[in-house]
Amino acid sequence: MSRNGPLALAFHTLFVTFILAPILVVCVVAFTPEGYLSVPTDRVSLRWFRAIADYPEFIDAFWNSVWLAAASSAIAVGFSVPAALAIARYDFTGREALTALFLSPLMVPHVVLGIAFLRFFTQIGLGGTFVGLVLSHIVIVFPFALRLVLSSAVGMDRAIEHAAISLGASDFAVFRRVTLPLILPGLASGWALAFIQSFDEVTMTVFIAAPGTVTLPVRMFLYIQDNIDPLVTSVSACVIAITVVFLVVLDRIYGLERLLVGRGSGDGA
């Protein structure tokens, strides 16, 4: 590891500050006693945290977002396993085209997807339903899940599976006892990344969410169109707090670096 020079150190500090400052500002503003967005100067108040309780639609929206993100990420990861194994192992015609197709949701603007899904779901009777939301989110998070599962599938030593076969394992036993445990870090990081993408998504969701299926970001977006008050900052502060706790727990039980870099197939315990 090379040491950073003073200039590089200053640059990195500035960079990290620039990234973290907005998050910090939001959390500080959440404690304001005033009725408008301001940094508390003389005293702090929990007024706007208590105010969340008066808006149960934020709580509902939060759970909507969690279930939506969890379900769509899980299904996307489920589909990405066979896709990744096929792409990683077999050289079939149309392999490149298939990969491009799977990754194409990254290229299409979410506004376009939103309008397209709105029209399509209305047509097939899924307009405004939770199922519709899950389906659309599967499409947009699939590339993220696939990329991470694919990287763990590509990095796997085929000889390990051959060893299992030579020891008498059936195809299913090879998959369950050897392949799956070895690509599990990729599945976990793919799921986590997909979850974040889904939880975060507003541009497309705002088109297809109905009043009963509104997600948290969409709810916040709609709220600040009518009211400019610190409620959104206290909601944001709660989400940030939950995220931090989630990451700390994940780091303790699994190791964050391994999760996000997607390595570890060689030494998964």
């Binding site: 030593d157 000889a159 390990i160 051959h162 060893a163 299992a164 076969i165 030579s166 020891l167 008498g168 394992a169 059936s170 036993a173 006892r177 050897v178 445990p181 070895l182 197939s265 060689g266 030494d267 998964g268 315990a269």
Partner: protein, 352 residues
């Protein structure tokens, strides 16, 4: 009856033949090495026996049954891979137990056989350790135990020692041979290391470019190489150009300014290979080749000479018997017995 029979075994990738009509018969309990440079088809042959590569044509019979009709998972072969291919998420004992579990061996018998086999490879103390916390040599032993515990009909070893350092490799060679003798499993070893093949095997199959060059016992293949390739691959050799003519009804090979009677049928331009340790210094002029000592290196139990001759540089190894040896720059004459020559058609380069 022969145990394992490979007949006309061929594998083509496109129009390239990786293995070209290979015939091999292996007896029960025998240790056979497939030896050759990389790309000679030895690994492909092993993978066809294991079932991971489908032959283009030919057949494999094991104990009279057609092996190709059996799924790879049902062939009952133990394989040790070059990368060991241990299951990283299982302990040593779990790795070894995997095959027994797949065969549905009851738990009590399973754990007994696992500890027996781990003890056989000297790893009884490390049963609960994960592979990533083991040295290369220990992982190697786990891989061997995992292959042996299922009592395989054949043990296939794919360059099992190539990832170990030289000292450990020598220890493992001895141990591998002992373990193989103890359990008596028919074993096929794939290797590019001629010393390893000679040390371990009952018989060696020397392969080059998908074809078998020679099948024979290590000593026999070394002393009587069937081709210049085998001579060059199994140990060091000197390759010399020679012209063969008939004199008084007998074939005589002229090499530089010397000439040797040839026992074998040959004529015209040929290539002769002679092992460095078979060459001696001599004073007489018949059956000898003139040269000048270019370098002389003392290596303890022997002297290593490089001699400039009319046929190019010749390497000579002489035992250190405490005698005076020619110094650098000295004019010498080299001789060897006619039966120490291997004669092959000209143009065949013995080197790799």
């Amino acid at each position: 009856m022969s145990f394992l029979v490979l007949e006309g075994l061929t594998k083509r990738f496109g129009d390239q033949a990786a293995v070209d009509s290979l015939d091999l018969v292996v007896e029960q309990g025998e240790f056979v090495s497939l030896l050759g440079p990389s790309g000679c088809g030895k690994t492909t042959t092993l993978q066809m026996i294991a079932g991971f590569v489908e032959p283009t044509s030919g057949s494999i019979l094991l104990d009279g049954r057609d092996l190709l009709a059996i799924k790879p998972s049902q062939r009952g072969l133990g394989i040790v891979f070059q990368s060991y291919a241990l299951f990283p998420h299982m302990t040593a004992a779990e790795n070894v137990a995997f095959g027994l579990e797949m065969q549905g061996v009851p738990r009590a018998e399973r754990s007994q056989r696992v500890s027996e086999t781990l003890a056989l490879v000297g790893l009884a103390a490390l049963a609960d350790r994960y592979p990533r916390r083991m040295s290369g040599g220990q992982q190697q032993r786990v891989a061997l135990a995992r292959a042996l515990v299922i009592r395989p009909r054949i043990l296939l070893l794919d360059e099992p020692l190539s990832n170990l350092d030289a000292k450990l490799r020598e220890e493992m060679q001895i141990e591998l041979r002992q373990i193989q003798r103890t359990v008596g499993t028919t074993t096929i070893l794939v290797t590019h290391d001629q010393a390893e093949a000679m040390a371990l095997s009952d018989r060696i199959v020397v392969m080059n470019k998908g074809r078998v060059e020679q099948i024979g016992r290590p000593h026999e293949a070394y002393e009587k190489p069937a081709s210049a390739f085998v001579a060059g691959f199994l140990g060091k050799t000197n390759v010399l150009p020679a012209a063969v003519e008939q004199r008084n009804g007998a074939a005589v090979a002229s090499i530089g300014d010397g000439s040797w009677p040839l026992p074998a049928e040959a004529s015209g331009r040929v290539t002769v290979s002679v092992r460095p340790e078979k060459i001696a210094f001599i004073d007489q002029a018949d059956c000898s080749l003139a040269g000048t000592v270019r370098t002389r290196i003392f290596q303890g139990n022997h002297w290593l000479y490089q001699i400039d001759t009319a046929c190019g540089l010749v390497t000579v190894i002489r035992q250190n018997a405490g005698e005076m040896m020619p110094a650098e720059g000295a004019a010498v004459r080299l001789t060897w017995r006619p039966q120490d020559m291997t004669v092959s058609p000209a143009g065949q380069d013995g080197r790799i």
